[in-house]
């Protein structure tokens, strides 16, 4: 008890808003950064031919991610990315980081992104790995949607 109080590390002020401080789980600063200041939040018109939309859910925890990519039809480069997430801090941070990662990538590059890459960047603990998995599923679903729109005959 006293050893804990005496340790100056415990006096370090926590970054982020009071809301973060009030949560039970302590997040890594990178997660808090993406959570308090999420990048690329929003929506695009999903009826546009050059927009691919991926909507995925995690049945066990009930998190939902919608991730949209706008692709340059000629170059196959992802030019714009938007997301909306209803979920925990790690799910929001994972999808926010994913949008930063894939912007400017080709579809072939983006489809190869593994959840471990996101988990590592955000230092997600093992119990939160499924959040990064959900973000990976979301980008894959968005790419699939775009390709289906572009080439419906090939991909059924």
């Amino acid at each position: 008890m006293f050893a804990r109080l005496a340790n100056p590390a415990h006096y370090k002020p926590l970054t982020g808003s009071s809301i973060i401080r009030a949560t039970k789980r302590l997040y890594h600063p990178k997660v808090i950064d993406h959570y308090t200041n999420p990048r690329n939040v929003g929506s695009m018109d999903k009826s546009l031919a050059n927009v691919g939309t991926g909507i995925v859910g995690a049945p066990a925890c009930g998190d939902v991610i919608k991730l949209q990519i706008q692709v340059n039809d000629k170059s196959g480069i992802i030019e714009n990315v938007k997301f909306k997430t209803f979920g925990c801090g790690s799910a929001i941070a994972s999808s926010s980081y994913m949008t930063e990662l894939v912007r400017g990538m080709s579809l072939d590059e983006a489809i190869k992104i593994k959840n471990t890459e996101i988990a590592k960047e955000l230092s997600l603990p093992p119990v939160k790995l499924h959040c990064s998995m959900l973000a990976e599923d979301a980008i894959k679903a968005a790419i699939k949607d775009y390709k289906t729109k572009r080439n419906p005959s090939v991909l059924r």
Binding site: I19, T23, K24, R25, Y35, T36, I55, V56, G57, A58, P59, A60, C61, G62, D63, V64, K66, K84, F86, G87, C88, G89, A91, I92, H130, M133
Partner: protein, 184 residues
């Protein structure tokens, strides 16, 4: 592994802990909440750590059992574990047995969107009311499924119920201007 199976075989289920409420000792969906609460309180009085010397472990098991059985979502998850050996609280398992309906996910996001722009308590209350109705409808539907032993449908509904529970929690925790986050 063998030890685990033996243990599992002889460990009583949460239902068996309440013999007055569940004389048949079998997993059942429809429960008498007031009867269960009464029996729980009686048992806790016997096993409370202050009363019995070795009551602490028993007391926490009773507590866990009671809260699992009284809550529709947790009861349904527990029943599927007992009856079908499917653990929907595990991300991997639940991903394997079910794919979430995109229409459902879109609806969840739409409601969440609407909610996140609200700054008026009455509007939030209305959304919460609609959500409560959805939850009650699913519960009624689940009752039917368990009566008919339609476990495939029960799994689907239980997964859906989790999403509405999350929204219900967000509505409950609502404070004007506070960003949303789920804790689990």
């Amino acid at each position: 592994m063998l030890r685990y199976l033996i243990q599992r075989r002889f460990t009583s289920t949460f239902y068996e802990l309440f013999p007055k409420t569940f004389p048949q000792k079998l997993p059942i969906w429809t429960i008498d909440q007031s009867k269960l609460r009464k029996e729980y309180r009686q048992l806790q009085a016997q096993h409370h750590p202050d009363m019995a010397q070795q009551g602490s472990e028993q007391s926490s098991t009773l507590n866990q059992a009671y809260h699992t059985l009284k809550d529709p979502l947790r009861r349904s998850q527990y029943m599927l574990m007992l009856l079908r050996n499917i653990d929907l609280t595990q991300e991997q398992t639940s991903n394997n047995v079910t794919t979430s309906d995109p229409q459902l996910l879109l609806k969840v996001l739409d409601i969440h969107d609407e909610f996140s722009q609200m700054d008026n308590e009455d509007d939030v209350k209305n959304l919460a009311k609609e959500n409560k109705q959805r939850i009650q409808d699913i519960e009624a539907h689940l009752e039917q499924c368990y009566n008919d032993k339609d476990y495939a449908a029960a799994i689907k509904l239980t997964v859906e119920l989790k999403y509405w529970y999350n929204l219900a929690k967000a509505f409950k925790d609502w404070v004007p201007g506070k960003p949303l986050e789920l804790n689990h």
